[in-house]
């Protein structure tokens, strides 16, 4: 089935080559029609298929194998969301059957974590696992086990007002595989490693969990950075979608320019030294823009008057007819390119309950003071998108950068 699809893609590409040249870099939108890598020890299959509950739109899901460190006591968990916007592996406690060692602070107290996403928080113990994805393995990686009951949720973790996303019903996935630009989820700032004021890490004596600093090496880590090789970044490869599809499948490829199947090729590198690049849309410039497979749509300030949804779809766009738009991305290195995109009516797109891959889903960023354009999963359809990890060298330069 998969082979057939790739053959068809190849055939389409060959036919198209007579007209325009396959993968020829024109420097404008859709410049690289890329094929999807399907084999290699550094390749894991992914699918935009609604996830384990079949209700998650524009999310890419992968399988991850967890083992008690140094043992063959392992478990494979599917339905894990691939998120290039965060770093670190988070797994539902309810999906976990293998016993993993609890991480302890130097004073012997167990360590737990609170990580807040937009609209929800995740909470639970930090444990250690060997993490296998495709043919790659991160040994003794700190991971985040999501549970509201292993340790009582501290008030600091609920101060966002958001709901917990520590169950299948509330997360819509069995976990989150954060393979973004960051090496660790919190990082080296004093708020993370010393004072704990970032609010991510907690120590949990029997009297209750309190915020604490967490040494960099103990923080929940981007598992890719711990691979022995192919550890400088990832490629998310998904086929193009025209409007809506029930599901599409692609690949998560590890390493950039480390093997014959992960070369940059004709992709343009957009450096992002502060984990952001600049998008210009409708005459406005957004220097905090980012590419994030964990965002379900394209989110940007509504400067062009697109009708916004109300009620339960609030937060998405609901134009009467599909809007065809374009924006320009520019890296700190000066590389620049135009991206064409479309915004459809979210209420209409959601009405067909079996459609899980939506190319035209978007919504407003808070206005007027958002400094970003969020290139979520719809951006990935029909592109091979490279995410290079901070400080890692690649043939395209040192991360962090995006390339496509």
């Amino acid at each position: 089935m998969k082979d057939l699809r790739i053959l068809l893609l190849l055939a389409a590409c060959l036919a198209w080559a007579f007209l325009t040249g396959c993968g020829g870099g024109s420097g404008s939108s859709n410049s690289t029609r890329s094929t999807i890598t399907s084999s290699g020890s550094n390749v894991a299959p992914i699918a935009v298929n609604g996830g384990p509950l079949g209700n998650y739109v524009d999310g890419a899901f992968a399988s991850v194998t967890l083992c008690a460190p140094g043992t063959s006591n392992c478990q494979t968990i599917d339905g894990v969301l691939v998120d290039t916007g965060s770093s670190g592996l988070r797994i539902l406690s309810s999906a976990l059957t293998v016993a993993l060692p609890q991480q302890k602070a130097p004073d012997g107290n167990p360590v737990a974590e609170c990580l807040t996403f937009l609209g929800s928080y995740t909470w639970g113990p930090v444990q250690t696992a060997d993490v296998q994805i495709g043919g790659e393995k991160a040994s003794a990686a700190p991971i985040h086990v999501l549970s509201d009951t292993a340790f009582k949720v501290p008030s600091g973790c609920t101060s966002s007002g958001f709901h917990s996303a520590d169950t299948l019903d509330t997360l819509g996935a069995n976990g989150i595989l954060g393979v973004g630009m960051f090496t660790q989820d919190c990082g080296s700032s004093p708020a993370c490693v010393q004072t704990g004021s970032a609010g991510l890490y907690y120590e949990c004596p029997s009297s209750g969990c309190v915020k604490a600093g967490e040494a960099l090496a103990q923080q929940v880590v981007n598992p890719v950075a711990l691979f022995p090789s192919d550890n400088n970044g990832v490629i998310v490869e998904l086929p193009s979608v025209s409007g809506a599809a029930t599901s599409v499948s692609g690949s998560l490829v590890f390493g950039i320019g480390t093997q014959s199947n992960n070369a940059l090729g004709g992709a343009t590198v957009y450096t992002a030294p502060q984990f952001a690049f600049t998008t210009t849309f409708s005459g406005h410039t957004y220097p905090g823009s980012f590419v994030d497979s964990g965002s379900n749509g394209l989110f940007f300030v509504n400067t062009t008057g697109i009708t916004e949804c109300t009620g339960n779809e609030a937060g998405f766009y609901c134009p009467a007819s599909t809007q065809n738009l374009s924006a320009t991305n520019q890296g700190a290195n000066g590389a620049s390119g135009t991206v064409k995109f479309s915004i459809g009516n979210a209420a209409t797109l959601f009405a067909n309950a079996s459609d899980m891959a939506l190319s035209d889903l978007g919504g407003p960023a808070l206005s007027p003071n958002a400094d970003y354009f969020d290139w979520g999963l719809p951006f990935f359809f029909g592109r091979n998108v490279f995410t290079a990890i901070e400080g890692m060298s690649t043939p395209g330069g040192t991360g962090p950068y995006w390339a496509y």
Partner: protein
């Protein structure tokens, strides 16, 4: 006080920022469901309370304001 804005790597303590409005905000933000799982910006637009939160891990921004208490002549767009 009629408006608060913030931006930073991590979300602020909304209890502290919103005070007596926190419970109204929490009920509104937790009440939004589409029947589809989706992460999206938080947009609360209720009589007496407007809150927007956007961004991502390590770069959040937001603002909250009480429309009835906006001084005359101050536009929502002026709140930066």
């Amino acid at each position: 006080m009629f408006a608060v804005t913030w931006h930073g790597p991590w979300l602020p303590d909304m209890r502290q920022i919103l005070g007596s409005y926190f419970e109204q905000y929490r009920a509104a933000v937790q009440g939004q469901t589409t029947g589809r799982m989706a992460r999206r910006p938080v947009m609360i637009d209720q009589p007496g309370l407007l809150i927007q939160i956007g961004g991502r891990v390590r770069a959040f921004a937001g603002r909250a304001y009480i429309p009835d208490k906006l001084p005359s002549g101050v536009r929502v767009e002026d709140i930066q």
